[in-house]
């Protein structure tokens, strides 16, 4: 370890301490508050309560379905709208005068967390899942375009050069070379984005933008931790399920094609 590194570590530790002081992050509060968690758990884990709360599972599943729908629509529409922007933002396809302004625009879109978009759209289109869908779309555009244009920039320049030397149009180059070359990455990013958006959609209900989060926040507000736990449990199971499915899809279609292995068994 060089002295330079030591200084750097010292500075980082110092900054963490200063930052903690400022936001009143006190480990003692955490230790003192810990028993509160016990009280919550106690209420949740009482057998009668569990049996009693089971009757909320169907409505939790219904709310989760709405959440999934929001995430699905938001992801697909966001990715589809995002792709042309990514093509314009890629430095290997455009001149500075095109990609620079597009990148600035996308950076601005990316600045807003989804919950802020949701609050904005609740004001614009009213309470409900539609506001949530719009929020997810905007968030997806901001986020996925960065992944997309970065992966477009890393595609092999050889086929691009070879095909541009035929004198094809920019559109043809994108349609016939860039997208096929980047396809597995683009698909992987879409899955990742869906994964991420399911979790996000679960909390957008907090600001009234639809989905399961609305119920969870209501129950927590009224100290009905048992019911909240049922809803949270449904979120957990579904998110894990989606994670599992996307790993399967990734293995089958993406990882193999990226490593140049045969994808479809004969």
């Amino acid at each position: 370890m060089t002295p330079k590194n030591n200084i750097l570590i010292g500075i980082i530790v110092g900054l963490v301490l200063i930052a903690s002081y400022n936001i009143e992050a006190n480990p003692l509060d955490f230790v003192e508050g810990f028993p509160n968690l016990g009280i919550i758990l106690e209420e949740i884990l009482v057998l009668e309560n569990i049996v009693d709360n089971m009757k909320y599972v169907p409505s939790a599943l219904l709310a989760m379905l709405e959440t999934l729908q929001m995430a699905f629509i938001g992801t697909v529409v966001g990715v589809v709208i995002g792709l042309p922007f990514s093509m314009l933002a890629a430095r290997n396809l455009n001149s500075k005068f095109v990609y620079a302004p597009i990148r600035i625009l996308l950076a601005i879109v990316r600045t807003f967390p989804s919950i802020l978009w949701a609050m904005l759209f609740v004001i614009v289109v009213g309470l409900g899942p539609f506001a949530g869908v719009l929020a997810i779309i905007l968030y997806t555009i901001g986020f996925v375009t960065k992944l997309q244009f970065e992966s477009i920039e890393t595609i092999d320049s050889d086929p691009m050069d070879a095909v541009s030397s035929i004198g094809v149009s920019k559109f043809q180059l994108i349609r016939y070379v860039v997208i096929p070359e980047a396809a597995s990455h683009l698909l992987g990013q879409m899955l990742y984005m869906f994964d991420y958006n399911v979790r996000q959609s679960s909390i957008l209900g907090i600001v009234g933008a639809g989905g399961i989060g609305f119920f969870i926040i209501q129950y927590i507000k009224f100290f009905e931790y048992g019911k909240a736990a049922v809803y949270l449990f449904v979120v957990l199971i579904v998110v894990l399920g989606i994670e599992w499915i996307s790993v399967k899809i990734r293995d089958k279609y993406i990882v193999k094609s990226q490593h140049g292995m045969e994808v479809t068994a004969k």
């Binding site: 050069d161 070879a162 095909v163 035929i166 004198g167």
Partner: protein, 287 residues
């Protein structure tokens, strides 16, 4: 006249106009002309310096030289991927430059097979070959990926010509090195080219496959009256197939010979016997 005036070529426009006239009168036969062409990738070293070349239509032209001598660079100048820092190049009297509209149209019929082949890995052999027909599609066809029936038929004909029948639905990354080269050749032929630029496409192949591929191109070249310009590592191979061979060394053209049967005619360095020429190159490759 007005067209020549409109062409914004790097050279002097008036000179170009008169050249156009005089060339078309004297020899319409020159398809590629380079005079005093120099180019570089960085400001310090020339990749090519003061190259003079003139290639007749229908020639099977070979460029030979050591690694790093500037062969690939020479081809990139011919297809407009690079522009010279000085000197002029004319392909059918147009300066090759991707940003020149007139040349961009010409690129449709210049088949270029780069050293790296440049296949799209994740699509099939057939789809790779159909890329050569893209300039002939209209906007709607290319948006929906709808190739006309006759283009697909043509692609299949070329597939059998290059010996890839049965592999048309294979993904490109699943092919062997020789098969990949055949696909790249087929894509170039699909362009219905008048010029074929091929960069060391047989260098890494075994002797038999190399010959097969060279014969394939030689056949196509004769049948389509192509002007083929092929880069080789191997002088022997170049002499076997080409009518003309230019030798490049450290960015300079040091020799140009014509091959007619067994006789070798020296065009650049004066009197040299066949043995001397062969020996000269043997020295080159040994280094």
């Amino acid at each position: 006249m007005t067209r020549a005036n409109k062409t914004r070529d790097s050279g002097n426009e008036t000179i170009q106009m008169t050249q156009n006239l005089s060339f078309s009168l004297i020899s319409t036969n020159k398809i590629i002309q380079m005079s005093n062409v120099s180019t570089s990738y960085d400001s310090k070293n020339f990749a090519l310096e003061k190259i003079n070349l003139s290639i007749d239509r229908g020639t099977n032209y070979a460029i030979v030289g050591q690694s790093g001598s500037g062969k690939s660079t020479l081809l990139k100048l011919m297809n407009g991927m690079m522009v010279p820092s000085s000197g002029t190049i004319k392909i059918d009297y147009v300066s090759p430059n991707m940003n020149n509209k007139k040349f961009k149209k010409m690129m449709h019929t210049i088949g270029y097979i780069p050293q790296s082949l440049g296949l799209v890995k994740n699509i099939t052999v057939l789809d790779n070959i159909l890329i050569g027909a893209l300039p002939r599609l209209n906007k709607i066809q290319s948006f929906f990926r709808k190739f006309p029936e006759h283009e697909v038929t043509e692609a299949k004909r070329i597939i059998s010509l290059v010996g890839l029948t049965g592999k048309e639905n294979r993904k490109a990354y699943m092919l062997s090195g020789g098969e990949k080269r055949r696909v790249a050749i087929a894509r170039a032929l699909m362009q219905k080219p008048t010029i074929l630029l091929a960069d060391e496409i047989v260098s890494e192949l075994d002797h038999v496959t190399a010959k097969e591929i060279m014969n394939l191109i030689a056949d196509a070249q004769k049948r389509m009256n192509l002007t083929a310009i092929m880069v080789h590592h191997d002088m022997q191979l170049a002499l076997e197939y080409a009518n003309r061979v230019a030798v490049i060394k450290e960015g300079h053209k040091i020799l140009e010979i014509g091959v007619e049967g067994d006789t070798i005619v020296d065009f650049q360095t004066g009197d040299m016997t066949t043995e001397e020429i062969m020996e000269m190159h043997a020295d080159d490759t040994k280094k």
